[in-house]
Amino acid sequence: MKNDRIPKAVDKAAPSRGRFVNTGNGPTIQPVEIGHATHVALVDPDTAFWSLVRRDQLGDALNDSPLLRAYRKKSKTFAEEMRMLRFGLKPSAVYFNPTARCNLNCTYCYIPEPMRRSGPQMTTAQLLDALARLKAYFKTTVPKGRLPQIVFHGSEPLLAREAVFAGIEKFGKDFRFGVQTNATFLDDSAIEFLTSRGVGIGLSLDGHEASIANRTRKTWEGRGAFEHVTRAMDKLRGYHGYNVICTVTTENMRHLVKIVDFFHKQEVPACMLNILRCTLPSSRKVKPRDADAAKYFTAALDRTYELYKRTGRKLIVANFANILVGIIAPTARRLMCDISPCGGGRCFFAVAPNGDLFPCSEFIGLPQFKGGNLFKDSIPQVLTTEPFAMVTGRKVEDIEPCDRCAIRHFCGSPCPAEAHEMNGGMKQLGAFCEFYEEQVRYALRLIADGKDSAFLWDGWDKGTKTAFDASTI
């Protein structure tokens, strides 16, 4: 560093000019092996700053290089950006369970079986009352010009179809609505109602053929939902606000490439290939090993690239695209599971059918995480309760080995519900680690090869500004 003066901001902290990486007031820059032929990553874990440098130039890059000099000028800005992203946001979305009941008995559901068999269901009047309360609350948290989001979720939300549709009809100008459904009740009139109002529709499907998909998603009597979902996919073809979620388990991971082929053939605009959540014990029966899941998952990503190159049409794998965006533009990420603290209880919260409030849907089956009730308590007060604070206070700096992991802000150490239920506490890891490592390595390799835009949805960076670009140094 050319400047011999000690920066004022660090005067009191330590008498170091910060001339060298990884000592004194110098930046912390960790090399990360990404499995690329020519490049290796350098990451400042705290600011999520990354660069990719040629292997044979690693030593020079870590010295007094133009890259590091440029980064020093930006490091405080990036640190503040991460602080705001991690601790400065307010809720703008609700995962709304209008019913606890479900006609399916999926292997990995996070809603306990007794609730799904005979739990409560909101009446139309209760649902409208709930939405009115949420509307009033969001007026205090969401800036003008933006609409808060309500995602009807389950269990199966369309079991409460009349109430849900009444809510969408009445509050259509106040919220952006979405419905995540198993598709068994998604008949023509429901599709017409939802699509004509621009409601987002998420379908759940775990396979490209019935014999795979129905292993994990079936009725209480054992009948699979595959036919219902594929019928709905046919009807929704061409509707831009629809997507499909595939949960990755031991039952389908070997078929992910074929599943991607199927989704692409069906012209699905976006999907998620979500690694299983292991919150409840029943889901752990189909938990894959990290390395196996990563191998099949990255093969599926490779296939989406091949399909794009061959056809010119993208199939966005949204959970992976979000990782990529989290690397390239941390504040532009949409999904908040891969940042720490996660979005539960701070960017969104969940409403149960009786009005009980939880930090996230994943906690709805865990009574100790109830923070209050929408019909009885003030939402701002609920957000500060101990059950919510346990989730919003879970951060990677307190978790081993995340506290020394270079990619902790590209992974976020999900998920607190898993960590608590499967591994015994909020300072524990969730169900997977190496899977997330491999996902980030893959993303960094794509960036090194200049392929990243092929995995991102068009217009993803609208409204963003360039804050750093090594090519201009």
Binding site: T38, F49, S51, L52, V53, R54, L67, F78, G88, L89, P91, S92, A93, Y95, R146, Q149, V151, R176, F177, G178, Q180, G198, V199, G200, G202, H240, I245, A270, M272, R277, I316, A318, N319, A321, I328, A329, P330, T331, A332, R333, R334, L335, M336, G343, G344, F348, S361, E362, P414, A448, D449, W457, G463, T464, K465, T466, D469, A470, S471, I473
Partner: protein, 37 residues
Amino acid sequence: MKKVAKKQLKNVIARRKCCQAEGTGLSHYILMDKKSK
């Protein structure tokens, strides 16, 4: 990788974009398209 190796990759790649943070989603539902409505 073979095709790319033939291309001249830059010695140093680093870029970052910023914007107002609006992330609201969890992995149970895709929140990607700001203009679904």
